[in-house]
């Protein structure tokens, strides 16, 4: 980060990093060559980020699709260990994560600290879900006939996670998607870009197979005007989770029907995702950023990362 080191009286010129994208286990620069500055609350330059284009997104999806089959075939025990390893790798970089959240997210140290603790704990929790979710979400069904009938849990495929605001929610979603055997494409907006990219680095130096986790950073305007449309229409993406800033009207899904004009920032992305996916009927889940990460460590959330398959087999011959 921008630690203002320099024990001597000489002012030191900082080495400011340009963070690259993370696709298929490698770190390409964006295809467009476009970068964006990341500044702290005071407006000081912290780092440069690559601004992902539509082509970067398509490549990330291709990488995810390529990696997903083998990842899904790994045993749940193995997947759980890999997700846990990710938490181990990140734990030693906790200070760096806190600083990343604080600097880019514009939150206080205490809040950043809580956010990172939540994120890491969510990864640990999700690691534990890998071989248990099927027991809760699946079932053996007592049908009125001579059949074995069971409903089993299968990975959905490629999961896109669109994140702004809540680093801990995005982390929980990544852990949940991985634990269930999916590959992930994360599209992060600048305020959570650094923690997501640190997570990407931890993936690269732990046991996560290349392509299972891909991280793109995007300009918010580019996300709304262009990338969201690709996320909605790309047929290799099976599930979309988006954490978007709260807009009062549709908040909390209260019983009353949504009305009025939703906040400008969130509504277009949510609507673009939902309208775009109407054509291919992929699963879309819109969440408010700032939602409690703890509530994500639940069967209900895991059920949004999977498909169910019911199998009938006669037991009389």
């Amino acid at each position: 980060m921008s630690a203002r080191a320099g024990s001597s009286s000489e002012p030191r010129t900082e080495v400011i990093k340009t963070w690259k994208l993370f696709i298929s286990g490698a770190y390409p620069r964006g295809e467009s060559g476009k970068t964006m500055p990341l500044c702290n609350a005071k407006g000081e330059l912290v780092a440069h980020l690559c601004a992902a284009s539509r082509k970067d997104l398509r490549e990330a999806v291709e990488a995810a699709r390529g990696a997903q089959g083998a990842w899904a075939r790994a045993t749940p025990y193995m997947r759980g260990q890999v997700v846990y390893r990710l938490a181990e790798m990140l734990e030693s970089r906790r200070e760096e994560l806190v600083e990343a959240c604080r600097v880019a997210g514009g939150v206080g140290r205490r809040e950043a600290s809580r956010s990172v603790a939540d994120a890491l704990d969510s990864l640990v929790s999700m690691a534990g879900w890998s071989d248990k979710a099927s027991m809760i979400l699946g079932s053996q069904n007592p049908v009125a006939g001579p059949f074995y009938n069971f409903t089993s849990v299968e990975p959905a495929g490629v999961v896109a996670i669109v994140g702004s605001g809540s680093m801990e929610c995005v982390c929980a979603a990544i852990g949940a998607a991985m634990a269930m055997g999916n590959a992930v494409v994360v599209v992060a907006t600048p305020e959570i870009a650094l923690p997501c990219l640190i997570l990407a680095e931890a993936c690269a130096c732990s046991d996560v197979p290349g392509g299972v986790v891909n991280v793109l950073t995007a300009e918010p305007a580019e996300l709304a005007s262009s990338l969201a449309g690709v996320i909605a229409s790309h047929r290799d993406i099976r599930v979309v989770h988006a954490w978007l800033p709260c807009d009062g009207a549709a908040a909390a899904g209260e019983a009353s029907a949504p009305s009025g004009a939703p906040a400008a920032s969130a509504a277009p992305i949510a609507t673009t995702l939902q309208a775009g996916t109407a054509e291919n009927l992929k699963r879309v889940h819109i969440h408010q950023s700032g939602a409690d990460a703890d509530s994500l460590r639940t069967p209900a959330f895991l059920s949004q990362m999977i498909e169910l398959k019911t199998v009938w087999m006669p037991r009389a011959v």
Binding site: L137, G253, A257, S259, L281, D292, L296, V311, W312, M313
Partner: protein
């Protein structure tokens, strides 16, 4: 084959001694019409807020018996104000219904299940008259399942926390439910029973060609002292459905029907915060390996495509035969097709009833013409069809290429397309080569092969050595463009609950 007593479809099996004989002697059955006469009122109003009300739209339409084209009754066509009134009634009722003690909600559903059982013959006859399906199917499949659905979900009402894996939950709210004409009363049960068990209120719209049994279900809710407004049933065509799902007072839309309409509804609901479940079309693969029990597989294939005139979203409409048995299997299937009796749906010996509407018949014919035009070989079984009404004989296309229209589009009629394969991997990849993913069937004597195929097939329901089996305890629903959400079992309840976190809108 599955000797399941309750939902079995009884069909005449060819005598093994004569199988392979060139021609079977014609064998006339004496007519065996169902004897129960059902009284049908000349006019059916809307069921809103616990009362029968005339439509503010002042519009009506006729509903006819597709087997003889006689008009059975005229039915109200709900307009904007009627939809508004129904949604308002459901919203008003929600306030107290969601707070009703769960076991009390359950008890109402138990009561309804009992009344359905007691009135099941009447409902079966009415279903057959209004929709054209054979009485033996409405009597032995639809109605027992309708009652079972209410009975099953009645028991869930006070146990929801166990269905969610321990998390607290609350109802979604007012549910707009739009259902198709192929299983009119069964679809109403699939929609209403879980919604009510979970504490929601509903506005249900049946398909315009099959409104009558849903309205009789409304009568049963009245008989059972269902609080006014908890269940509202409004009738009409596509436009009424559109107004209902787009109404701003609706919290959730549950739709069963075609994929194209499902996509339109999903687009209309984008950005509104409404929850959706979609049970849409399919082009189910039915895979028969050389090591399958062939006699039983043939019965399974018949059940897969000629059940309910093929008006089944999960029908096994693409038959994949392992190349080494294809010729023999097709020859025996053709012979078996000749045993399918097409005719008066109220005759207890009828296997294949009337096509639901003139429009659907035209669609099926158009697909058959496309099949012939594109080069597939068409085989049609049976003798002359009745003069009046809408009829389509069992039809088999062979020499079908994966690119043919009859191999790709959902026909929703008694039309089967046959393709071949050589290896299990090829069978799976060709079976999955479709935007749909609702059902699949596999016939083989090797259990390990059966389960490996089940793993590889992209479908929400896989029938191994059986087909078209349904049960309220068994979650049903699709993947890919066959929709999302499940109906039945504990998984089906999640579609009608808001669980735990405040996170999702």
């Amino acid at each position: 084959m599955s000797p399941k007593a309750r939902t079995a479809i009884r069909m005449t099996t060819p005598d093994p001694g004569t199988a392979g004989a060139t021609a079977l002697a014609p064998w006339d059955y004496a007519p065996a019409p169902e004897s129960l006469k059902v009284a049908i009122a000349p006019e059916h109003q809307l069921f809103i807020g616990g009362d029968w009300v005339k439509p503010a739209s002042k519009a009506w339409f006729d509903t006819a018996n597709p087997a003889d084209e006689t008009v059975l009754s005229r039915v109200a066509e709900a307009g904007e104000r009627d939809v508004d009134r129904a949604v308002g009634a459901a919203r008003k009722a929600l306030k107290s219904w969601r707070k009703t003690a769960p076991l009390e909600r359950g008890k109402l559903l138990f009561r309804v299940a009992r009344r359905i059982q007691e009135r099941s013959r009447e409902l079966a006859v009415l279903e057959t008259m209004d929709g054209g399906k054979p009485i033996k199917e409405s009597r032995d499949v639809d109605l027992p399942l309708v009652a079972a659905h209410f009975f099953h979900h009645a028991g869930w009402a006070d146990k929801l926390r166990y269905a969610t894996g321990g998390d607290e939950s609350r109802p979604v709210g007012v549910c707009a439910q739009v259902i198709p004409w192929n299983f009119p009363l069964l679809m109403a049960a699939w929609k209403i029973a879980p919604a009510l068990a979970c504490g929601n209120t509903v506005v249900l719209k049946p398909a315009e060609t099959t409104s009558l049994t849903a309205l009789r279900l409304a009568e049963i809710f009245q008989e059972c002292d269902c609080p006014p407004g908890v269940v509202n049933i409004i009738t009409g065509a596509g436009e009424t459905g559109r107004m209902l799902v787009e109404h701003t007072g609706v919290d959730k839309v549950a739709f069963t029907g075609s994929t194209s309409v499902g996509k339109r509804i999903a687009a209309a609901c984008a950005g509104t915060g409404k929850r959706l479940t979609m049970e849409l079309g399919g082009k189910g693969p039915h895979i028969v390996f050389a090591d399958a029990p062939i006699d039983q597989a043939i019965e399974g294939v018949v059940r897969g495509i000629w059940f309910n005139q093929g008006h089944v979203c999960c029908a096994g409409s693409r038959l994949f035969l392992e190349e080494s048995i294809a010729d023999e299997f097709i020859a025996r299937l053709r012979e078996r097709m000749q045993q399918i009796r097409v005719g008066d749906p109220l005759d207890k010996n009828t296997d294949l009833g009337a096509i639901n509407s003139a429009a659907q018949l035209a669609t099926i014919r158009r697909y058959c013409e496309a099949g012939v035009r594109e080069g597939a070989e068409c085989f049609v079984s049976g003798g002359p069809l009745p003069k009046k009404g809408f009829w389509h004989a069992p039809t088999l296309f062979t020499g079908v290429q994966p690119s043919h229209t009859v191999a790709r589009d959902e026909i929703f009629g008694p039309v089967l397309s046959v393709l071949t394969f050589r290896t299990p991997a090829e069978a799976a990849s060709r079976a999955n080569d479709t935007p749909y993913g609702l059902s699949a069937g596999v016939w083989t004597s090797k259990a390990s092969k059966a389960y490996e195929m089940a793993r590889q097939l992209n479908a929400g329901v896989v029938w191994l050595n059986c087909f078209n089996e349904f049960d309220p305890a068994s979650p049903f629903g699709g993947v890919k463009e066959s929709g999302f959400g499940r109906e039945g079992g504990k998984q089906g309840l999640l579609a009608y609950l808001r669980v735990g976190g405040k996170g999702e809108r």
